[in-house]
Point group: C2
Chain length 337, copies 2
DNA sequence: ACAAATTGCTTAATCGTTTTCGTGTTTTAA
DNA sequence: TTAAAACACGAAAACGATTAAGCAATTTGT
């Protein structure tokens, strides 16, 4: 690997001069600069980020913690899109993306924080994890700039999708389509689930809907088997709902299958709605009624906020940025009455 | 940040001793080691990967180049799964994953190779890109260990899914279900497309099927609009096919919609088959007949091969590892006759 | 009991940069 | 003409680790 030393030798100048020339400092003569740049190119010089980092204590790389229980966040449509947008934005601004090692089985493994320190990440983004995990807590409480997605911590900036408005809009839409018997299979307990659920109750109350407790059930996110089972239970009720809201689009398919297995039609016999707006939702027939999350904006805002936090630690304020989704009407909720 | 220097000061030993103790060299006394480890923990010592890299010229990080034309590989279900598996395997073995910056719009951007050198990646994995791109070529021809996925280069190791067998198995399955009029909408030109297409022709020939040229059409991968249009054309033929194979599962939905739009039923009136085995294929009704790619194995093999290449450059041979997929029968191909 | 081997630690060089503080030369101002 | 300012560059320390070589002190073999 050719280094500045090699260039300095060829050019007959000091290493310091080479460094300054390549960084375009203004105390180097224009022709000297040009010559050095020329030689650097000819020799195939490649800067060494490790050396630069060692000196400047900046890596221009961001740690990403995107883990799911079983699944990695990568195979999670919603988070993959958020991450993609985050990555684009970060790269535009000169930062690289590295995953925080989530392999918990190695003997000499480091905690998330240790790993982040080891790699000297300039900042870290956290999403899609078990926020109860003490290791996550440790990371969040460290002095590393952190932005979290979809989970609020004390004193940390967060980008959250507006689950309250999302569910509220969805329920309103369903209500306006004429439904009065609306069931909600919500996801496993989490901050997101909490806000959606309480929004559901509140909205129903505002609309004057009486929701029997049987109508509110739980199933893990992105799990079709459990939503299938829960849907069966709903359909078995003496007074079954006319519309079922699912934890997310994917798990909605579990419910759809249960409904079809009964020989019922969607949306004629039973209406369904999902959440997230994954790509397939538009391409499925009937198109899924759902809340389309603005994943692009979520990722972008997270990156912008994090980089701002890194580059302007004094002036950047800790805030909660709320990103709203949108009702995608689709065709899976029928107009009734 | 506390460094080895701080530890050495507290322990009253030299920095070298600290380094050796923490790396468990055997020329340091057991009690000294223990003491140093203890103090390191107490002080909250964190190793500095940049310094280590500078000295050892090893980063234990792997570059990942996963870009699509418009989409990043991240939002591409197939590649997301491959990447996920790659990541897991690499992390188990102590390597971190960093994306090779694919943002082509920055003024002072580096080429893929420059970026890889800058970050001193120990190795690089390439998938899902435009392999014609001169920058990709440059990277592939460099002295950095490289593994490619689904594309063969001279003198480089590759992990490929067995497209020849995949299409062959699929056509055989369809044939055995009684179909004789099989159309194939293949993806845009690429090595993968080539091998699938020639396998299609060969298999049909072996089975004695006459495939009219009208039956073979092209549409971009993962594009439902174009498959919709091509499907319409197929259905408009005087002698339309009884089964249509699509570039992939996702684009298959475009065809499905076109078929439904005609008021036809699947698979009763027209049969369809996809490729990839994305998650939704199992959960859709009717379940999609498809070739399930072994993404887990693809990612794992790629990581293993790459790390082997890095750690045992002499003894590791350049090879092409072929990973076979499997027919998932599903319900979208009807039994006829 | 004495040379040889082992143990345990230190010294010092090095990796490739950045950056502060000089220093000599040239230009500008008065 | 001369002092001050501007310009161009260099010397050297520092960032935080690794590692070869060396050196006492201790243990081992005979």
């Amino acid at each position: 690997m050719v280094s500045m030393k090699d260039i300095s030798a060829v050019c007959g100048v000091s290493i310091a001069t080479v460094s300054k020339a390549l960084n375009d400092h203004r105390d180097i003569g224009e022709e000297t600069k040009e010559h050095i740049r020329q030689v650097a190119k000819e020799l195939g010089y490649s800067p060494n980020s490790a050396a630069k980092t060692l000196k400047t204590n900046r890596t221009y790389s961001l740690g990403v913690l995107f883990v799911d229980d079983e699944q990695s966040g990568l195979t999670h449509d919603y988070f993959a899109h958020v991450l993609d947008s985050f990555k684009r934005t970060a790269e535009e601004r000169g930062y690289d993306i590295t995953f925080i090692n989530s392999c918990k089985t190695r003997p000499q493994r480091m905690s998330y924080l240790e790993h982040s320190r080891y790699r000297r990440f300039d900042g870290v983004v956290i999403a899609c994890v078990d926020f109860e995990d003490p290791e996550v807590e440790e990371l969040v409480r460290s002095n590393i700039p952190v932005v979290t997605i979809d989970h609020l911590f004390n004193n940390r900036s967060t980008i959250v999708s507006d689950n309250v408005k999302g569910i509220s809009d969805l329920v309103h839409y369903i209500y306006e389509m004429g439904h009065r018997k609306i069931a909600y299979i919500h996801g496993a307990d989490s901050a997101v689930t909490q806000s959606r659920l309480s929004s559901f109750y509140r909205t129903c109350e505002e609309l004057g809907l009486e929701i029997p407790s049987d109508y509110v059930r739980e199933a893990p996110y992105r799990n079709t088997k459990d939503t299938y089972a829960e849907t069966v239970k709903l359909l078995d009720l003496k007074d079954p709902p006319t519309c079922i809201i699912y934890p997310d689009d994917f798990s909605c398919f579990g419910g759809i299958n249960a409904i079809y297995a009964r020989g019922l039609k969607i949306p004629d016999d039973v209406s369904v709605a999902g959440y997230d707006g994954i790509r397939i939702a538009r391409h499925y027939r009937p198109q899924l009624t759902t809340i389309v999350q603005d994943t692009k904006r979520l990722g972008r805002e997270a990156a912008i906020k994090l980089i701002d936090l890194i580059e302007n630690p004094k002036t950047t304020l800790t805030e909660q940025i709320v990103v709203t989704g949108e009702v995608f009407p689709g065709e899976s909720v029928a107009k009734i009455n």
